[in-house]
């Protein structure tokens, strides 16, 4: 079983998938600070990335989340091909993108976590969303740790300007 389905009053944990989470994007900013900044508030699906230990010990008041896209919507919009999803993305070979399989019986379509779109969300807000049954599910071990490793690899990788040459 890849997904678990915690109760609405269960605490937030790493790899929780939460629907209708408000995320903010700064759309206009006056460097002179004469005009107020314009902020877009969007409602989207997110997955929690903050470590379980930090959440369990009550050490955090904000939670790091990544935006979760519907995989087929990205195909329909022309951002990806179906073969990209079936091939390198599904097998975890693209830094920054993490595939989540569907469980149609639980309303979960195939999804792609965009680890390059991160947001900090207040823990009490996420908790309130869960209490309103906006938590779709939770990725379970070992898939949860697999996601966390991919997240870490995405930001710890070091790219070389050029690949090393070989003699033949």
């Amino acid at each position: 079983m890849i997904y678990g389905f915690p109760g609405k009053n269960d605490p937030i944990d790493q790899a929780d998938i939460v629907e209708t989470c408000p995320v903010l994007t700064l759309t206009e900013f006056d460097l002179e600070r004469v005009e107020p900044p314009q902020i877009k508030v969007s409602s989207c699906r997110v997955i929690v990335l903050t470590q379980t230990c930090d959440l369990a010990n009550g050490k955090v008041s904000t939670v790091t989340v990544a935006v979760v896209h519907d995989a087929h919507a990205l195909v329909e919009q022309g951002f990806l091909k179906l073969a990209d999803i079936r091939g390198p993305i599904r097998s975890g070979r693209v830094f920054g993108w993490y595939f989540l399989p569907s469980r149609r019986e639980f309303g979960l379509s195939e999804m792609i976590v965009d680890l390059r779109q991160l947001h900090s969300i207040r823990l009490d807000l996420l908790t309130a969303l869960c209490q309103r049954e906006q938590r779709l599910g939770r990725l379970l071990s070992p898939d949860r740790e697999h996601l966390a490793k991919h997240f870490a690899d995405t930001f710890s990788r070091i790219g070389l300007p050029e690949p090393y040459e070989t003699e033949s």
């Binding site: 995320v23 994007t25 700064l26 759309t27 600070r33 107020p36 900044p37 314009q38 902020i39 877009k40 508030v41 969007s42 409602s43 989207c44 010990n57 050490k59 955090v60 008041s61 904000t62 935006v67 896209h69 990205l74 919009q77 951002f79 990806l80 390198p88 097998s91 070979r93 693209v94 830094f95 920054g96 993108w97 792609i112 965009d114 390059r116 779109q117 990788r157 790219g159």
Partner: protein
């Protein structure tokens, strides 16, 4: 009990450079024995091992409402719990 391909071929007499074809359980199999000058399997570039960088930016969230913000200070950070250092005691 199943055996691996390596185990199954271990008892077969194969000649370098030869191509063998046979039918196994209704399927045609072709086996080519490489010469020393040909690429060795261990040296083959396996594309499935290569990590890729994303080739496109996913769309920013299209829908939503835009509101005017206000300038202010950041909320106080979550202070990490720092274990007492024995040397400092």
């Amino acid at each position: 009990m199943g055996v691996s391909l390596v185990e199954a071929l271990g008892d077969v007499e194969l000649k370098t450079g030869q191509v063998y074809r046979c039918q196994v359980k209704g399927r045609w199999i072709e086996l080519r024995v490489l010469t020393p000058n040909e690429l060795q399997p261990s040296g083959r570039y396996d594309e499935s091992d290569v990590m890729l960088d994303p080739w496109v930016e996913f769309p920013l969230l299209a829908s939503g409402i835009t509101v005017a913000g206000e300038f202010g200070s950041l909320p106080t950070p979550d202070v990490p719990e720092i274990a007492a250092d024995e040397d400092a005691l």
